[in-house]
């Protein structure tokens, strides 16, 4: 590690998310080439998001789905009144 390491922790997220200015990006990239710890830090931070992202949306539990339909219908009729059809 070099004295440069500590500087950009706050920029890491922007770097990883691609929202950092070019110059700082280039600086970080250069540093990553020579600092194993920072490279692993960056890699694992990237993987953290991959792993923590939900993946597929959760389907509603069938019991909730059934209950919900009745509840919403009732609330709707309270608001708008019963409608034919």
């Amino acid at each position: 590690m070099t004295g440069k390491c500590p500087e950009y922790l706050n920029d890491l997220n922007d770097y990883l998310d691609g929202t950092l200015d070019q110059a700082t990006c280039a600086e970080i990239q250069r540093h990553l080439g020579e600092c194993e710890n920072c490279r692993i830090m960056i890699d694992t931070l990237r993987q953290t998001v991959t792993l923590c992202r939900g993946g597929k949306p959760e389907p509603l539990p069938p019991a909730l789905e059934a209950r919900l339909n009745g509840l919403l219908k009732t609330r709707w009729e309270q608001k708008f009144g019963k409608r034919p059809g």
Binding site: L9, N10, Q47
Partner: protein
């Protein structure tokens, strides 16, 4: 069918139009609620309260945003209200999850001495298929202090921009960014602990 048309129909009292509108968002809102609350009971309450609220407020929706975004901010408010009621804030402060030196805020970086082991994680894509690990990860997220969990999930689970999140949670962009980063660092630490144990187990 066209969303605007459905909204107008719903606002005129057409229940079918309303159910069509929410259909596309149900699973996503449940998923978010599940991850925000950390348990299915609370998540179900949030989903239910969100749609009831949406009925109450449907006349106020002015098509300034997409219906999904509107529904979404209702869901977030419901999640916050629910968690406030349950007083889930007696969780440990974020500092306890962070590498020692970041927590101390001495600007010396999140790696090095303070950080948990720095080593490569093998095959993260393959790890995603591991059900036990997925559950462990959900638990990690659920244990984060709420404001960090919320910022992190909105950014990476839901793909909102920092600017959008800042507006929703009513914080500055800088504060929002800091929450997202801290959540990410904290999760990295915890994952690192998990993998350290796993790899040891595999090796021995």
């Amino acid at each position: 069918m066209d969303e605007k048309l459905l909204v107008r129909r719903a606002q005129a009292g057409d229940f079918e139009a309303f159910t069509d509108l929410i259909k596309a968002h149900k699973d996503r809102i449940y998923g978010l609620a599940l991850r925000l609350s950390g348990n299915s009971q609370d998540a179900e309450d949030v989903v239910q309260d969100t749609f009831l609220k949406a009925i109450d407020k449907i006349d106020q929706f002015r098509l300034e945003s997409s219906f999904g975004t509107w529904l979404y901010s209702i869901a977030l408010n419901q999640a916050r209200a629910m968690l406030a009621r349950r007083k889930q804030e007696d969780l440990k402060p974020i500092e306890e999850y962070l590498p020692v030196r970041v927590a101390a805020d001495d600007d010396s970086g999140g790696h090095g001495h303070g950080s948990h082991g720095l080593f490569e994680w093998k095959d993260p894509e393959k790890l995603l298929e591991d059900k036990e690990l997925r559950q462990a990860i959900d638990k990690l997220i659920a244990e984060l202090p709420y404001q960090y969990r919320e910022a992190f999930l909105l950014r990476y689970d839901q793909g909102l921009s920092v600017k959008e999140i800042a507006a929703i949670i009513n914080e500055s962009e800088a504060a929002t960014k800091s929450r997202i980063l801290r959540a990410r660092l904290a999760l990295r630490e915890k994952l690192s602990e998990i993998f350290e144990t796993r790899y040891d187990r595999e090796v021995s």
